[in-house]
Amino acid sequence: MIDTLSHLPRPPAGAAELADRFGDLAPPLTARQAALESARCLYCYDAPCVNACPSEIDIPAFIRSIQQENVQGAAQTILSANILGGSCARVCPTEILCQQACVRNNAQECAPVLIGLLQRHALDHAQFSEHPFQRAPASGKRIAVIGAGPAGLSCAHRLALHGHEVVVFEAREKAGGLNEYGIAKYKLVEDFAQRELDFLLQIGGIEIRHGHRLGDDLSLSELHQQFDALFLGIGLAASKRLGLAGEDAPGLLAATDYIRELRQSDDLSQLPLAERCTVLGAGNTAIDMAVQMSKLGARDVNLVYRRGFAEMGATGHEQDIAKANQVRLLTWAQPQEVLLNDQGQVRGMRFARTRLDSGRLQSTGESFELAADAIFSAIGQAFDGQALVDPLAGELKREGERIWVDQNLQTSVPGIYAGGDCTALGQDLTVQAVQHGKLAAEAIHTHLMRNAEAA
């Protein structure tokens, strides 16, 4: 249990009711709905939706397969581009990706084909008697993947497909990364992340070793010597800090820590409930946190952001989810002081009102207090500096605090590749991480095979 929130009460609702509240946010299409929706696809050529998909799924092709009652073929088309297509179908912000680009989302029609739900339909209903991808003959090459999140798993699968042996090192008990520990429960329900993982591993040639953390018991230098290539998919493990006094007081917690606990909980009624809850931030994690606390039974949930709605990282769709769950979105206010009670526990927060002055965020001089039983910080993730401490790791070129990679996902150190949130390339999205892993695997494969030929 989360020690820093142990003084809080438990949700009044029972486990069964809470489980119900955390059910699928976007229920799957029925067969009839899928048939109707797939018929709406115009089967574009050089389709804008594909262009907008970071993982380059051939969307018109898979939708046409659905329309022709070939869900198996549809699923294979999706998985060949994105082995985590099932979770992407659920967590992708399609409203700013494929569905935003859909030609039916024009001003005359304003009704994109529901690509995400169709993708889910295909993958939910495909029944493969064996893993749909068969491995190439063994290459004799061994590759280490650090981090079993979407980037690492995608990379591992593609490498295994090409006949390589892959060892995945994962710090946590379960593989899956944010799909397992970080996504709102109502987006990826039940044990979907683990089922998807099991399916992915069926290709063979992938060994996952849990409990190993880079900078702890893993050294980049040693791995570099032991394996033919390395892929870093270590994400952004640290939560950014507010830099305020009282930040470690009971009642103040990183939203990601709470969400991880919630996702692993078998009984939601045993979670600490912040009846008056404040969430700091404006990204999807902030929304996920606020909405989940609301679903647990909080009566007063405020999401506070220092800028305006237009600048929010969360999409309009996400903001709508928050509003539909009675979350109050407060803008133009930034944390000023953590307010504590006599026992040193969080009782609220003082905010400074802000405004833009010549493009710079300024305090207006006004402030207000917001009572809260707990405050959850979701102001962004940061690089875990502890991960890259050995001498070789120190050689990795950085871009900002993240790892620099070229278009082939190779770092500045030959033989070491990286992808996903730990790199600065592209967007911080699951689907982007999957694409990184896939492209890195292809680059590694090309590189190793070229060397093998030359030898």
Partner: protein, 424 residues
């Protein structure tokens, strides 16, 4: 409002929308409901000699579009399976109750003079307005020498038509089968036999689909199937062509035509009238949606006629016939070129890939900085085939624009490139 009433081959009706001889007109109950809904006439489902036909189960199947809309419909039902006496009694009652509506009786008996001589007075005694000879039914009945088996032999068509004209005083409409090579041959035969009108098309031999699990075509009867008669929206183009063929045939000039085949809207009906029909018959659309469809058909047709300044059907009947001609009379020098309305274009790329793969490589796909594509017609390559306009999902996005070529009208008969040209 325009006057929709008609007089077709001497038969008066308050509007040109008649129900075709088929299940919707099988008995008094249905026909009364049809008249209550506003249909201008019905052709009573085909009567035959007793004992009445026996039908199988199941009977219908369909060709579906992507959204499960019925594109085409298929049936293996025979003529009426009720006794002649019941049908005649009901026809008499209905006609008496609905004197202003056209009530035509469809007939099919063996190709024997005595058979026709026997049934015609009985039918005439009902007070009906006319008879329609079912020479078109393509399934079941031809195996017994009736229906399409008659319609496919011009001599039989002429002979039976003549018998009917001699043994009864009613207008005789000959219903033609499309399962022939040249529809005009059958129409001419009917004309020679003295027919007052022809109606077409009857259904087309068809198998709509195959059940791939059971390996049997649809509709399934036990573990077997048989071909049926195809109708519905999909057959409209075939029917329109056959109507036009007859309408512009000098040998049958003036022969009234009742159009049948895939009519489901006022616009469909207007198209048949424009190609020379004086009335139309509807079946599949009513079978799919009920008799109420006639309300929108009447309302739509009369409003459109008002907008065009047509006071009656006669004002535009046959107006498109003169513009329907043989290929050899078309203007070789006429040229259209596609023009894409870039504001309406949604960027689906269908015009490009269709033209690029299967036509004339006349639509360029220009990659834009944001990853999308812009599509532009290459005028010099465009032959004006209409393919891009057809595959474009946006109404009016692609326009085929007539070009001023500066060349005079020239048909193939006079084209210097034609080695068999007519000497000028």
């Amino acid at each position: 409002m325009a006057d929709l009433s008609i007089e077709f081959a001497g038969i008066k009706a308050p509007n040109p929308f008649w129900l075709a001889s088929a299940p919707p007109t099988d008995k008094a109950y249905n026909v009364i409901r049809a008249f209550e809904a506003g249909w201008g006439g019905v052709v009573w489902k085909t009567l035959g000699e007793d004992p009445a036909a026996v039908n199988v189960s199941s009977r219908y199947s369909a060709h579906f579009g992507a959204n499960r809309e019925v594109l085409g419909f298929n049936n293996i039902e025979l003529i009426t399976d009720r006794s002649l006496e019941i049908n005649l009694r009901e026809i008499t009652q209905v006609k008496k109750a609905w004197p202003d509506r056209a009530l035509i009786v469809s007939l099919m008996v063996p190709c024997i003079e005595e058979s026709w001589k026997a049934i015609l007075p009985l039918v005439e005694a009902t007070g009906c307005d006319g008879i329609e000879l079912n020479f078109g039914c393509p399934h079941g009945m031809p195996e017994r020498g009736m229906g399409a088996a008659v319609g496919q032999v011009p001599e039989y068509v002429e002979r039976v038509t003549r018998w009917c004209k001699s043994y009864c005083a009613l207008p005789v409409i000959v219903k033609l089968t499309p399962n022939i090579t040249d529809i005009r041959t059958a129409a001419r035969a009917a004309y020679r036999g003295g027919a007052d009108a022809v109606s077409l098309i009857n259904t087309i031999n068809s198998i709509t689909s195959v059940d791939l699990e059971r390996m049997v075509a649809n509709p399934i009867v036990g573990s077997q199937s048989t071909h049926g008669g195809y109708c519905g929206s999909a057959v409209k183009p075939i029917a329109l062509n056959m109507v036009a063929e007859i309408a512009r045939d000098p040998e049958t000039r003036g022969l009234p035509i009742c159009g049948i085949g895939g009519i489901g809207s006022w616009r469909d009906a207007a198209e048949f009238v424009a190609l020379g029909c004086g009335a139309v018959q509807v079946c599949t659309a009513a079978m799919l949606h009920g008799f109420r469809i006639v309300e929108q058909m009447q309302d739509g047709l009369s409003r459109w006629m008002d907008s065009q300044g047509y006071a009656s059907l006669a004002d535009f009947s046959g107006k498109a016939v003169g513009n329907t001609t043989d290929w050899k009379y078309l203007d070789i020098n006429y040229q259209v070129i596609a023009r894409i309305d870039q504001d309406a274009c949604i960027g689906c790329g269908r015009c490009h890939i269709a033209c690029e793969d299967t036509a004339h490589q006349a639509i360029a796909s220009l990659a834009q900085a944001d990853g999308t594509h812009k599509y532009e017609v290459i005028d010099a390559e465009c032959v004006g085939c209409n393919l891009c306009q057809i595959t474009c999902p946006v109404q009016d996005c692609i326009e085929m624009v007539a070009q001023d070529t500066g060349k005079p009208f020239l048909d193939w008969q006079h084209d210097p490139r034609n080695p068999y040209r007519v000497a000028s």
